[in-house]
Symmetry: C2
Subunit: 342 residues, 2 copies
DNA sequence: TTTAGCACTCATTTCGATAGAGTGCTAACG
DNA sequence: CGTTAGCACTCTATCGAAATGAGTGCTAAA
């Protein structure tokens, strides 16, 4: 579609613009060395590239900036990932070396490292309930009327929820029910749990216990909506340093969005495994028109587990971020699998 | 210390400045109606107030703005709290009406309401470990080498931590130890727990179990540093709308600070019960020189439990915020005590 | 003691001129 | 025919001078 030379020029322009955040002129491209043509020639090609929709011109007498389409081309034709700088690798090694026990700590820490390495905002999604199974269930009375339900998943996550004890239900009854659940449903995937409770536990309760309705209501509450995936943010303030967010209004819409965990979960969860790049308006959300979102999935035992994302301006260091994300997602998968693996 | 009239004028200036964020001139005070003197008279008083350190002048030909000392006087002499607007009261009622089970949900939601009512940033500290006691302890093996330790406190909070199983320790040994802990130490305040573990459980283990060192290490890990108090932030982006944070640099220092939970915990935890106002440089932290922090404590069963805070520019609507905070802290205490109370 | 009047100060706004970066086009060159 | 030098043109950003106006401090009168 693009000639060799056009491709080179487009590449050079995107590169320059990513560094400088300012419209790139023909002269500066010519002087870079990697495109050995006169400014005039480059100008001609630039005009063509603009006509084709890869470049844009803020005004007549300014240089060109890449359009979304331009970035897309740039990303799709990135040369094979460069190795990371040694200083960055050091951070990775630290990450691997640290003795982090809980899954959440691994994720949290990875997010911090990622944000400080890239100077963008990192968004990490914790384990998807979908892929874990029940390890242990427990009901612990707190008062006459309330109890705390504790659910431990196969990945070692602990969820807890305070529930109301239905009138008339005794402590021993609750204990029996919890035991029943552990006996019958340990190992069942979380997303099938509710169905199995109805089909198996329900019957049993109906046969042996007095307060069918109450007990079922209690279980319903305890396993309600398995909670959202946890979201870990880091480096949100890095947004402030990006010149494209000098405009407080734009900045606020983006930061506001980052406070809404459900939206984030939706934006990040993706069907694909592997790395995905969403540039500007390719993002569903209106507020992200000036942003690019790069995501990668990490896994436990080969099962998709969660998502790592980097949010930055469309003018983003794609090569670096993609490389980093690739390494980090592998590192996390390794760290997690190593810990809980068979 | 100040004459009646000076006090009135100072009040008027602070009021005006809080609304407009712009230096207040003698003319506008004179026109307000509540200080019926000519601009010239007011100017004289203003000059005196400046000399006394209550006011400042950005430059010779500008109006006056309150100094920290000025704000302090204003706050200390606030007229008795005005009743809240009905629309705000509605929000409170909603808060009370919602059936929120877990303590954390109550806190989280209160924070959101607070931020949206005040348009500042709300910072809420969760329950202080200090004031809760142990309800239940459990060790659940996850793999050959790891287990999850679950700690339930008297307030229904569930803490969990993944720990490494020391070499050679069997599952039944761990179970026995957990049972021992529950028998002996249930009801012991969290802050005394470590000492009691050493004094009581340690001995017992030494007598009956083989792996004293390993088991003690495990308990140490499980109860390590009882985790920081949880911090709930809401409305951080409200900072963006304040004209004093037009300067991205200042904004970033503040927002960066908000990302550091340990610092926040330190800033908010206070010895006093009740409402506390820290204006500008009265805050320990350098980054908060342009901010005021107003905190209130909420409680469970009369015991100090956690802190609610509002962070905004020194030019803050003190009257409104203090009133709101007062009501909200009571509401929260009621909501929490109502739920878990005897 | 209060206030009207007035000269003075100083940040902010406005406006025109200028500089400079970059383009598009044309014509010459190899 | 592709490439390049040259040049006129466009448009933004910058700069400085002048105008603006909000507000003060002081003095003198009420």
């Amino acid at each position: 579609m693009l000639s060799e030379r056009q491709s080179m020029i487009l590449n050079a322009i995107v590169d320059d613009y990513i560094r400088s955040a300012e419209p790139v002129g023909s002269r500066s491209i010519s002087k870079r060395g990697d495109v050995a043509f006169s400014p005039a020639t480059i100008r001609n090609e630039m005009a063509d590239l603009e006509e084709l929709g890869f470049l844009e011109q803020p005004h007549t007498s300014a240089g060109r900036i890449p359009s979304n389409k331009g970035y897309r081309y740039y990303v799709d034709h990135l040369s094979p990932l460069k190795p990371l700088k040694t200083e960055d690798l050091k951070l990775f090694k630290q990450l691997a070396a640290e003795k982090l026990n809980a899954v959440e700590e691994v994720i949290q820490h990875a997010g911090t490292v990622l944000a400080s390495m890239t100077n963008y905002t990192s968004i990490l999604l914790g384990p998807e309930m979908f892929n874990t199974s029940l390890r242990h269930f427990q009901l612990l009375p707190l008062s006459e009327t309330t109890a705390v339900a504790i659910i431990v998943t196969s990945s070692g996550e602990v969820e807890n929820k305070t529930v109301t004890i239905p009138a008339g239900v005794s402590v021993s009854e609750m204990e029996r029910m919890a035991n029943l659940l552990n006996d019958r449903l340990a190992g069942v995937p979380m997303h099938k749990l509710k169905a199995r409770i109805y089909s198996e536990i329900g019957q049993e309760i109906q046969r042996h216990a007095d307060h069918y309705e109450g007990l079922m209501k209690l279980l319903d509450d305890a396993f309600a909506a398995g909670k959202d995936q946890k979201v870990f943010l880091s480096g949100t303030t890095n947004m402030l340093t990006q010149p494209e967010f000098r405009d407080i209004g734009k900045l606020k819409t983006v930061l506001d969005l980052l406070e809404q965990t459900p939206t984030l979960t939706r934006l990040l969860s993706s069907e694909h495994k592997g790395i995905q790049v969403r540039i500007g308006s390719e993002n569903v959300h209106q507020a992200f028109v000036n942003c690019s979102l790069i995501t990668a999935t990490y896994s436990l035992e080969g099962e998709a587990f969660g998502t790592i994302g980097i949010l930055g301006p469309t003018r983003m260091e794609y090569a670096k971020v993609i490389g980093t994300l690739d390494l980090l997602s592998r590192a996390m998968s390794r760290a997690l699998t190593g810990r809980y693996g068979a």
